[in-house]
Symmetry: C2
Subunit: 361 residues, 2 copies
């Protein structure tokens, strides 16, 4: 990891400030004076406190919301690890642009940007499509590292740049989504290497593999990890894990998270793939977790291990496993609602409401 | 239960049609053709299917959303069962009208109606306030039935009328909320009697009782149930449970649920109190459950027993215990999102996306 790009990551993360505990306490004091029994809004209060500390005590109203869907192909699809053919990545990007995908139906006034960081297809210029292709798909991790050092650096940098642009556009809260046939294979390999959990534990059926397909996927992941990190995993560097068994969209999301944390934006992770990117970012710089919300808990078995690894708790648990950012955008109204409490709720004294005595009246 | 009002309940529930299984199957067939792996949207698909069957295959877009917060006082507060004084019911109604309560901050474009069915205060006419007072608070269940037959009938009828009016206003999806100091005592008594669970299991700290306060509450509930239904509970009639140990706002919500199901509206229950009303409605007419969504699972311990009794699964689980409809309105965007899938998502063929083969590609 001696390329020029690595230096920019180091510079980038040095600009990430931790969120202040004092802000969380101040938020809780405010919440405790609002016209509701203390603690009665449960996790909404913790979410409000986290947002308050992310925004340094100035929660913007209304929140400007955006979703970034990072798309790339994966060389490892050559090994037959997905229920869908590789072409579906490009087909789905076109579907996003035409408004026909699940994420389009679930946007709820959030701004959608689709980012091509490595799809094996040349897209024409289109509004809402950001063309930052590093390569037409990552390399096949089963045979070589998924990315060269330069490719990794470029993907990370693209993501970070987008986050800076997002802030310039005035966006406050950004959801991560992805599209990439084969990317649960990459995410499973990252998860096993990063968390130390067994490959079998963290590898699921992706978009719908049968037992035979899943066994092939397990075998490919096992061989890939062995090739790059040896039989006994010797705690490889997080960015090296990302480079060898990750993917271009995952790397771009990692870069985006670094950039978004630098800009003090609230970040909502979606499912297994985006949380794999978040876990790499967390492993490099634990402070980023202060800026993260987990939109939901996916059915992909590796996801809950990643959430535990980062130490973030999902807002929703609806048995979803689609990606695209769908679980992240569904959680947006909950976070928005939590933020709105501060600016709209009355205090006991302002509303003339009597306070409680726990001893019963 | 021989009053004139009982007859209208019988008439009312005879007009409730069950939702058709055929509609759910048709919905699933549609969902399976949309551009996403089969089943990958998890519970969102089940929610979409239920909405599709509630609306007889014509899911309106956009959904017109409303929240009805039913408020009443409780005679049993004389026994010292709440952390807050009785006046808070009226104070909070005024807070709702002034926009300072949690429910106001969480509305998300839903229309709010506050319904006074029994607050111990004379409110002036105000937009968004529906004055249907039956009595200035229910009677003290510890000494006599909480309502006379006539009062129960009037509260049920008021709720049903409001539901019919809601439909006339074009509302499709209605969330239930409530405000009433003392009403967790009533809901616990209903829950224990209806489900057969022990009083200790289904009784919590309400808005914040300490151990001593909770013990007093337990004692009052135990004595009240014994007074009305004898030591060995002999399966009393659901509406008789409601009359003896319920409350005016709970009865009005039960009536509202009957009316809303008659009108084929989607009903979102909130926490412990509104679900107690829903459980009574379900006990009288199990078909109403077809029209119900459980917005969330409250921290009040009796709530999960009621959800299991009715057989509905909460959408959110965020540790909330406030009432007012807060958990129900938070779930609205999830239900709306599920409904939008049908009208906005492309099919595999319309979008030109290749389909899956579970054997891996």
């Amino acid at each position: 990891m001696s390329s020029a790009q690595t230096f920019s990551v180091v510079d980038l993360i040095s600009a990430i400030a931790p969120c202040q505990e004092a802000h969380k306490l101040e938020a809780q004091r405010r919440l405790d004076n609002l016209t509701k029994p203390i603690g009665s809004l449960g996790r909404l209060e913790a979410i409000a406190g986290q947002a308050y500390s992310i925004f340094s005590g100035q929660v913007p109203q209304p929140l400007s919301k955006a979703v970034y869907v990072f798309a790339a192909d994966h060389g490892v699809t050559e090994e037959g690890v997905s229920a869908y053919p590789r072409e579906v990545t490009a087909q789905m990007v076109l579907n996003f642009m035409q408004g026909g995908a699940a994420i389009n139906a679930l946007l709820h006034q959030a701004d959608l940007t689709v980012v091509d960081v490595g799809v094996d297809y040349e897209f024409e210029k289109a509004p809402g499509l950001c063309r930052m292709k590093v390569r037409r798909g990552s390399r096949n991790m089963h045979r070589e590292p998924a990315m060269s050092h330069e490719e990794l650096g470029q993907a990370l940098e693209s993501g970070a740049c987008l986050a800076h642009e997002a802030r310039k556009k005035g966006q406050h809260i950004v959801a991560l989504g992805e599209m990439g046939i084969g990317n649960t294979t990459a995410a499973s390999a990252i998860t096993a290497t990063l968390t130390g959990e067994s490959i079998g534990t963290v590898t699921g059926r992706g978009t719908g593999l049968d037992d035979l397909g899943r066994n092939r996927k397990l075998h490919v992941i096992k061989r890939s990890i062995k090739r790059h990190f040896g039989a006994s995993s010797s705690n490889p560097e997080p960015l090296e894990i990302l480079r060898c068994v990750g993917g271009l969209e995952i790397a771009a999301m990692t870069g985006f998270i670094f950039g978004a944390a630098t800009e003090r934006m609230a970040i909502i992770c979606d499912g297994f793939i985006s949380t794999a990117a978040a876990a790499v970012a967390y492993a490099v710089c634990p402070r980023v977790a202060d800026y993260m919300f987990a939109g939901h808990c996916s059915e992909e078995p590796g996801h809950r291990h990643l959430l535990r690894y980062i130490g973030i708790k999902p807002i929703l648990d609806l048995g979803m496993r689609l990606g695209e950012g769908t679980g992240a955008v569904l959680a947006m109204p909950v976070i928005e609602s939590a933020c709105r409490l501060f600016s709209e709720m009355a205090t006991f004294s302002s509303a003339g409401v009597s306070e409680a005595s726990p001893k019963a009246n």
